[in-house]
């Protein structure tokens, strides 16, 4: 690069930095009270319009809305709380409320809510020990969606949907024609939430109550649940076992007879297939006694204890949960329902029969037990369902396993070591300091003998300074902080850290979950690195020869790298779907298709992600190799050609040795990347099916941002770091780090 282009590069930096200033966020007027609201459900601009009304009624209050995404919103709330930067009012899903109550983050509002009690749904979900901690805002439940045409084709009357379990089974059996790609019913599996959310209502309807008199015990292994699970398994031969997203698409395509779904389908189906003739019905109930239970979810507005303006925040919450405001959100969003019971009478629901049926279903809907550990416990129920549906475990055994895991978790939680020991912290720090000093001292002693004289140290310092500065300012503190976290119990929600010494590491080294995650990660690395590098190097060497349309091939093969991992993962989820292009190709070729399909198959899910990873990353390394190939002086090849060397000999004797530093770089970087594989897993399988795609970083993420044990999560991170470091050092030894090409 020429000097002048570099100068213009610096110019661009300065220019853009100068630009950054005026664009920064606008400060609010000081005399007004500013409330921050974090929410998921409504569009920011829409809610802002709604709140203008509130701000005119309360001129001294200004509201700032922060829109969060469903996928990552919770992480952001948690991190902001841990950093002491929480909002005044937050929208929370009911499954998280208990955790927040337990951590003492929410303000009690028992008195304030008492006049509202009879007019709203979902109180159990915001209460703990008879006290109330939030305001129900929006609710959601599930209905049975069924395809009228498939009903008719199967000789069923589409005006009489199944009302009981046996009718459901019968209908599924009649509709199911897998050879034509038609499925009777659909069972969710291969992801964390939908399997238990679909299954538990069968148990609830059958009279199962999971909470016990002991507020901390959860009883899953009970006859009513077993009966429900046994029935659920009877549905399996006539069902598509898939992830919810896939089922929704296939239902819209008219290939699934019945599915249990939320209101989002009402919006999705007309988009995907406006011609689909479908109908909704209340969920079937057990043949004998029982109710048509459904899963009830919901959104709650909670006031945070830390808010400096509780009165104003309450006014804001009251404004939002009023019927007229809530109905506006409902009409605008079309996926949610109001928690306000009288809304049934709203003309909107009189004209819209599907939403009205959702409201009807709310009457018998059940929400999951309010338990601070529910986010962890639900995983065991999902596992039990998957064991039965994918793993062919008998229901009795699956439930027993789940109960054992639940009891173990609850017992561990009860006797969790919570010692606060400043002395130990001090000793550890002193130890670290001593090690640091002695390392420095040893180096200094050694350097006196070994090191060559250090010349022109000032210019070296200038060359190094950009990194030294950024590292000192932005790298060092997070590094040290996270190392300290890894030696502590650091529950993100409460933010009270307690020093544990090496406890986290010891726990991890003994933990079977961690071993499994490490196994999956190493398998992933071993399975992706060689093919990726072979493809990349092969393509680079071929392109580097003088072939026509060189740039076209180069750009074309690089193109997959351009798109973000999240989009690619979503795209491949479709490619791997049961009726997706890959299965279509297999069909055409007369080859068998995997059952259950790729991403739900415990053996195939991880290799499927690996295939995608190879596709998405080889172009990148190809470019690196091409850049490396260009450092090799042409005269070496010319000389070899004169000596009569073959192509293969030239590759072995010239290309490979000359490329060594780049190959080393690529190997090390790709190893690091594949050991850290995460976004693919999060988007495609969320660790499922049966935990077959849980990698180390996914385990870390789950521990830190779903169970909020950031200390343990950091320890996972540092164990992975140590493993990565050892591997990289070994690789460097093999490829020779310090070596430069012979001249």
């Amino acid at each position: 690069m020429h000097l002048h282009s570099l100068k213009s590069g610096i110019g661009i930096v300065l220019f853009s930095i100068a630009f950054l200033l005026p664009l920064d966020g606008v400060q609010s007027a000081p005399e007004k009270i500013t409330l921050t609201v974090w929410e998921f459900s409504a569009n920011e601009a829409f809610l802002a319009r709604l709140l203008e009304r509130f701000e005119t009624e309360h001129p001294h209050i200004q509201v700032r809305i922060q829109q969060l995404s469903w996928e990552h919103g919770l992480e952001k709330i948690i991190i902001a709380m841990a950093a002491g930067n929480p909002p005044d009012v937050a929208e929370l899903g009911i499954d998280w409320v208990a955790k927040f109550i337990h951590a003492g983050l929410l303000k009690e509002v028992t008195q304030e809510t008492s006049p509202l009690r009879e007019h709203y749904h979902l109180w159990e979900s915001v209460s703990s020990d008879g006290k109330v901690y939030g305001f129900p805002w929006l609710v959601g439940t599930r209905l049975l969606f069924y395809n009228k045409e498939l009903f008719r084709n199967a000789g069923l009357n589409p005006n009489f949907p199944p009302r009981t379990w046996s009718e459901l089974l019968q209908a599924a059996r009649q509709i199911h024609q897998p050879e034509k790609g038609i499925y009777g019913f659909s069972i969710f599996a291969g992801e964390p939430y939908s399997p238990w959310q679909e299954f538990l209502p069968f148990a609830w309807g059958n009279g199962a109550i999971l909470s016990t008199e002991d507020p901390h015990r959860i009883l899953l292994d009970q006859p009513a649940v077993l009966e429900a699970l046994s029935f659920y398994r009877q549905l399996k031969p006539f069902s598509l076992v898939e992830r919810q997203g896939q089922v929704n698409t296939l239902f819209a395509e008219g290939k699934v007879g019945m599915q249990i779904s939320g209101a989002w389908n009402l919006r999705l189906i007309p988009r995907l297939n406006p011609e689909l003739r479908f109908q909704t019905a209340l969920l079937p109930k057990p043949d004998k006694a029982g109710t048509a239970a459904a899963f009830a979810g919901g959104e709650v507005l909670a006031l945070l204890k830390s808010s400096p303006h509780p009165e104003e925040s309450l006014q804001l919450i009251r404004f939002l949960i009023e019927e007229s405001q809530t109905m506006e959100v409902v009409k605008h969003h079309q996926n949610v329902l109001p928690a306000f019971k009288k809304s049934v009478e709203d003309p909107y629901f009189q004209s819209q029969h599907h939403p009205r049926r959702f409201l009807e279903q709310m009457a018998t809907a059940v929400s999951p037990p309010t338990h601070p550990l529910w986010p962890e416990l639900q995983a065991f129920i999902t596992r039990a369902v998957e064991e039965v549906m994918i793993g062919n475990t008998p229901p009795e055994k699956a439930l027993r396993n789940a109960q054992v895991s639940i009891d173990r978790l609850l017992a561990e939680e009860a006797k969790r070591p919570l010692f606060r020991d400043q002395l130990l912290t001090g000793i550890l720090w002193a130890g670290c300091f001593l090690i640091f000093v002695s390392v420095l001292w040893i180096r200094k002693k050694r350097e006196g003998f070994v090191r060559p004289a250090i010349e022109r140290s000032f210019s070296t310092f200038i060359f190094l300074s950009p990194w030294l500065l950024t590292f000192a300012l932005f790298g060092l503190y997070p590094l040290l902080h996270s190392v300290v976290m890894s030696f502590s119990r650091y529950p993100l929600l409460t933010g009270e850290s307690r020093f544990l010494g090496f406890q986290n590491y010891v726990d991890l080294l003994k933990s079977a979950d961690f071993h499994r995650a490490l196994g999956h990660t190493l398998f992933f690395a071993a399975g992706t690195i060689p093919p990726t590098l072979a493809l990349a190097l092969g393509a680079a060497v071929l392109i580097h020869r003088k072939i026509p349309f060189k740039q076209l091939y180069q750009a074309g093969l690089f193109l997959p790298v351009v798109t973000s991992v999240i989009v690619i993962a979503t795209l491949f989820t479709y490619l791997y779907s049961p009726t997706g292009p890959i299965n279509m190709l297999l069909d055409k070729a007369g080859l068998p298709k995997p059952v259950p399909s790729w991403l739900v198959h415990p053996r195939l899910a991880l290799p499927s992600i690996m295939m995608m990873n190879i596709w998405a990353s080889f172009g990148y390394y190809m470019i690196l190799f091409l850049a490396g190939l260009n450092t090799i002086p042409e005269n070496l090849y010319e000389a070899a050609a004169i000596d009569g060397a073959s192509e293969w000999q030239k590759f072995r004797r010239i290309t490979l040795p000359q490329l060594r530093p780049i190959i080393l770089f690529v190997v090390v970087i790709h190893t690091i990347h594949s050991l850290q594989v995460f976004p693919e897993v999060l988007t495609m399988t969320q660790g499922g099916p049966l935990g077959a795609t849980k990698t180390v970083v996914y385990h870390l993420y789950e521990t830190g941002f779903q169970k909020f044990e950031m200390g343990l999560a950091s320890a996972v991170g540092y164990l992975l770091f140590i493993i990565t470091l050892l591997l990289s050092l070994a690789q460097m030894r093999i490829f020779g780090i310090g070596e430069e090409t012979s001249e």
Binding site: M1, L3, L6, I10, I12, V13, S16, D24, G25, F40, N43, E44, Q66, S69, E71, K76, R267, P270, L272, N273, P274, I454, R456, T460, F463, P466, W467, F474, G475, P478, L479, S482, M485, G538, I547, Q551, L557, V562, S564, T570, L571, G580, P581, W615, L624, L626, A627, G628, N630, I632, P633, P661, I662, V668, V697, M710, G717, L720, F721, S728
Partner: protein, 375 residues
């Protein structure tokens, strides 16, 4: 041999591009899933005791509305209307679409959808969803077999994304951050990489291990402390927090170090003999020789910056500060976005990256001979 190379590369190219082709195809398809397309929609769900039909459709997906019409004595008037869920309505007269007006025999009418004023339907939703199709009749007009014909392809999804709240601002934010970070990395990573490749200094190995360590620590571990740090700097919701810490990325330092250590030393030695200083050698010899690697640094940094989601999401609070991936992720969540919008958003996001790649790629190919030693 050459033929084989071309055949192999072409196969590889097909494999690499097929999923992307599907992506482009999915983003212009007005209706249906990937594997399935609808031609037309029969509107037959009549609202009891009225002359209206349930529709509940995104009107932009259709090319035309058609139906059979007949009058009792001929010459009657008929208006067709679309009504949304909040009661907004738009309607047009049918007569102009018939040669001689409504007659006593059945005639087929076809009305292009663009004749309706769709902008009056639910202005807050990107899709112009009509709940109900109404027929305002006078006298004994009969209507039957109402059908809506789908368009074959559409750029609406692109338009939705482009016109979604603040898309321009997101784009500008992303661009500013990416340009600053790429420029910083081009210069700084070469400087630091050069020092690691060619200089001897105290603690070199320890520092280099630190560089590697910064790549090896899973970023999820650092999220909480980084957030705390930025909060203490007062850099939450500021561009600073997304640019300054990334001006020199350890990954690029490692790359430049490897690349520079692979360069032949002879040129530098010769220049040193001629009395050139460190900076002169760096700017006049090392940088020009490193063009291919710098091109890779530029591409890589731009892609990472452009597609970054986690930190821009964590560290920004207001809509004005969002980058493209963050804005699109929120857009997707809210509208419960289907394939088409997701893919259109992805294609729009990918487009600048392709331009950047095309800009840098000539430096990768140019090779050592073209760039070498031009003083």
């Amino acid at each position: 041999m050459k033929i084989w190379a071309i055949v192999l590369l072409t196969i590889l190219l097909c494999v690499a591009l097929t999923p992307l082709g599907l992506m482009g195809y999915g983003s212009v398809k007005p209706v249906g899933t990937f594997g399935w397309t609808a031609q037309e929609l029969a509107v037959d769900e009549r609202i009891p005791e009225t002359e209206s039909f349930f529709l509940r459709s995104d009107m932009r997906k259709f090319r035309s509305l058609s139906f059979w019409v007949k009058g009792k004595k001929g010459g009657e008037s008929l208006r067709v209307g679309l009504r949304d869920v909040l009661g907004h309505e738009t309607s047009i007269a049918v007569d102009p679409f018939l040669k001689r007006g409504i007659a006593q025999t059945w005639q087929r009418v076809t009305i292009p959808i663009r004749r309706f004023d769709l902008s009056s339907l639910l202005p807050s939703l990107p899709e112009k969803i009509a709940e109900i199709l109404t027929f305002k009749k006078e006298g004994g007009v009969s209507v039957r077999d109402v059908r809506l014909r789908f368009r074959n392809w559409t750029l609406d999804h692109y338009r939705d994304v482009l016109t979604s709240d603040l898309f321009g601002r997101y784009f500008l934010n992303s661009l500013l951050i990416a340009v600053a970070v790429v420029a910083g990395n081009l210069l700084f990573s070469a400087m630091v990489g050069y020092a690691f490749a060619r200089k001897e200094f105290a603690g070199k190995e320890v520092l280099f291990i630190l560089v590697l360590a910064s790549i090896m620590i899973p970023p999820q571990v650092l999220m909480v402390p980084v957030f705390i740090l930025m909060k203490n700097f007062g850099w939450l919701n500021r561009y600073w927090s997304l640019t300054i810490p990334n001006l020199v990325l350890p990954f690029n330092i490692f790359l430049m170090r490897q690349y520079i250590s692979a360069l032949p030393r002879s040129l530098e030695d010769a220049a040193r003999m001629d009395g050139a200083g460190d900076f002169q050698i760096f700017f006049d010899i090392v940088l020009p020789l490193s063009r291919p690697a710098l091109a890779v640094v530029g591409i890589n940094t731009f892609i990472r910056c452009w597609n970054a989601f986690l930190y821009p999401f964590l560290l920004t609070n207001t809509a004005e500060m969002r980058t493209l991936p963050v804005g699109l992720a929120l857009y997707k969540d809210l509208q419960g976005v289907d394939w088409a919008h997701l893919l259109a958003g992805a294609s729009l996001t990918a487009f600048p990256v392709i331009l950047v790649f095309l800009f840098f790629q000539r430096y990768i190919i140019a090779g050592i001979t073209a760039g070498a030693v031009r003083r």
